[in-house]
């Protein structure tokens, strides 16, 4: 279980987020949503210890992540961001880098076990056939799948994703998110994900945290968070909230200014 307790962090005397508390149960799939500048990324960087906490704790199964060193932390949690770089590396080598947190300074080469683990997750994420290609030869969706394979190769308890689908078309958005959901269900992996798209957030996550101006505005099940009231308040935009007839999850419709003025 991931516990965020009264977390406060930020950038010097500029932007701060404060008093953030929520929990992600073991095997839970939580999404962080909120408008630009609301503090999603700051919260993310606080949890990953890229920003030093001014107050509060980040506990994973009772252990404080901020008190670990980088290597220990990389064994507990793996991070997937919007883009991967490192053009000149093969997919296999890239995924094998997920084993770095387990390697000592003098161990220069991968063990058979490292290969076994990397191959297992290359297969699980369906990119095994790409293993000898270079990263720059991959499409955006394939890159994200490779990034997830690398993250899984770290064998973490917690998977953190920062807008993993923001550059993808809906085919690949669905592919990536379905994969994450499957990992979440089948491996019991705890997942925390920043996501911009409210409909995807509602469809895939079992719990949502909505940020607003550096604070947590509301947290709860998707249908409790994605209400037109909350969204109109936080995003300052008129929307209509409905329910997906099949999944029974909330969906959000934007209403254009023109239509709005014609109807009032």
């Amino acid at each position: 279980m991931l516990q965020i307790e009264r977390l406060k962090c930020g950038y010097g005397d500029k932007f701060h987020i404060s008093d953030i508390s929520f929990r992600v149960r073991k095997g839970g799939f939580t999404g962080i949503i909120g408008p630009n500048g609301s503090g999603k990324t700051t919260l993310f960087r606080g949890i990953t210890s890229e920003l030093e906490l001014e107050k509060g704790h980040v506990l994973l199964d009772g252990k404080d992540l901020t008190e670990m060193n980088q290597k220990e932390r990389a064994q507990e949690m793996a991070i997937v961001t919007q883009e991967i770089e490192g053009a000149n590396i093969t997919v296999e080598d890239y995924v094998l880098m997920g084993r770095l947190p387990y390697r000592s300074t003098f161990q220069f080469f991968e063990t058979k076990e490292d290969y076994r683990i990397a191959h297992k997750y290359l297969e699980l994420t369906d990119v095994f056939h790409l293993k000898d290609k270079y990263i720059y030869q991959l499409s955006g969706g394939e890159k994200q799948l490779a990034a997830i394979a690398r993250a899984l190769t770290q064998e973490p308890k917690l998977l953190l994703l920062d807008e993993p689908t923001s550059h993808l078309d809906i085919t690949h958005q669905a592919q990536v998110l379905n994969l994450i959901q499957r990992l979440n269900n089948e491996l019991g992996l705890t997942v925390l994900m920043i996501i911009h798209d409210l409909n995807l957030a509602g469809e895939y996550c079992d719990h949502l945290v909505m940020m607003n101006e550096g604070n947590m505005y509301i947290s709860g099940k998707p249908e409790e968070v994605l209400t037109y009231k909350a969204i109109e308040k936080v995003y300052n935009t008129v929307v209509i909230a409905k329910t997906n007839p099949l999944s029974k999850k909330p969906v959000i419709f934007l209403v254009s200014e023109k239509v709005l003025s014609e109807n009032t």
Binding site: A74, Q75, I79
Partner: protein, 324 residues
């Protein structure tokens, strides 16, 4: 890698056997050893072997510095001289020449001043890029480039106001040469560069992870702060040493790392040693050409490294489909 070793060996053998007096490869064992006399023995052990040793050390160290700096700055244009280390060394030497200290105190003042000059620049760049105890890598690069400009302007000032004799000395030194009479200095340079290579291997995994960017290396459990600091200092010290001993020999630290990336890929486990060997072999070859092409006179080695290195690199790059 095996091929590189062979190339390095060929470079060494060619360089040993070729010169004003050519010697057959098969006669080599006769002349290399602890004892002996005669002209050929002297040429071998007093002239050619030291140059080869120094070429291997300086070429290797410069190329290693280049590949490391490109790795930590994640910038393909960075080379050992970008951060003003060579400029600082040159300024130190120029000061010694202008004030005649090398005549007054001893010729060891030249490499010493070169090293001190480089060291001062390194400390300056390093401390100016520290902000609140953290190194900011991009501003470090800018500060280095700026300091490099300042130092080279100071050099020009010195050269403008000094005598023609001193000017000749300064320019001669700047052009670089593997001609170093002090054998102790050669041995020190050789072993320091080998130690540098060994130390760099302690950071081979961080370097590999840094290929993904600093943030992502951190996510993989790498302490990037310490890695970047130590590698910066290592590369700078190696560069400072090379500049102090052999002057400003350009292009090795830029071209060889890129050539090696094209040849062996971006995995630092292979790349570090390849760059070292490649740099060493390249400099030995360049020196061989520099001292034989207009024999009995000698061309500045920097001319050869620039022309040959640059040309080869452009040809290879324009033919390759690899991305950086």
């Amino acid at each position: 890698m095996g091929a590189l070793l062979v190339v390095t060996l060929i470079a060494i053998l060619l360089s040993l056997t070729t010169g004003e007096i050519d010697i057959s490869v098969f006669e080599l064992p006769k002349y290399i050893g602890e004892k002996g006399d005669g002209v050929i023995y002297s040429i071998m052990n007093k002239i050619r072997l030291p140059r080869i040793l120094l070429g291997l050390a300086v070429g290797g160290a410069l190329s290693l510095s280049g590949v490391i700096l490109q790795g930590i700055y994640r910038n393909p244009l960075v080379e050992p001289y970008t951060l003003g280390i060579s400029g600082g060394g040159a300024l130190g030497v120029a000061l010694v020449i202008v004030f005649g200290l090398h005549h007054a105190i001893g010729s060891f003042m030249l490499p010493l001043a070169g090293f001190i000059g480089s060291l001062v620049t390194i400390v300056l760049v390093y401390s100016l890029s520290l902000r609140g105890g953290k190194i900011h890598i991009q501003s470090m690069l800018l500060i280095g480039v700026m300091i490099s400009f300042i130092v080279s302007s100071a050099m020009m000032l010195l050269m403008a106001i000094t005598t023609a004799d001193n000017l000749h000395g300064i320019i001669f030194w700047i052009m670089g040469s593997l001609d170093e009479p002090n054998s102790t200095l050669i041995h020190v340079t050789f072993w320091v560069s080998i130690i540098g290579l060994v130390v760099s291997y302690l950071f081979v995994q961080p370097l590999n992870a840094l290929r993904l960017g600093e943030a992502k290396a951190k996510h993989l459990g790498i302490n990037t702060e310490i890695t970047i600091r130590i590698l910066f200092i290592l590369a700078s010290l190696l560069t400072g040493m090379c500049v102090a001993v052999a002057g400003v020999i350009g292009f090795v630290g830029l071209i060889i790392p890129h050539l090696m990336r094209l040849m062996v890929g971006s995995d630092y486990r292979v790349l570090l040693l390849s760059s070292f060997l490649g740099g060493g072999a390249f400099l030995i070859f360049s020196d061989l050409i520099a001292r034989t092409i207009i024999s009995p006179n000698e061309l500045p080695i920097g001319v050869i490294t620039g022309i040959i290195g640059g040309t080869v690199f452009v040809i290879v790059l324009s033919r390759s489909k690899m991305k950086f």
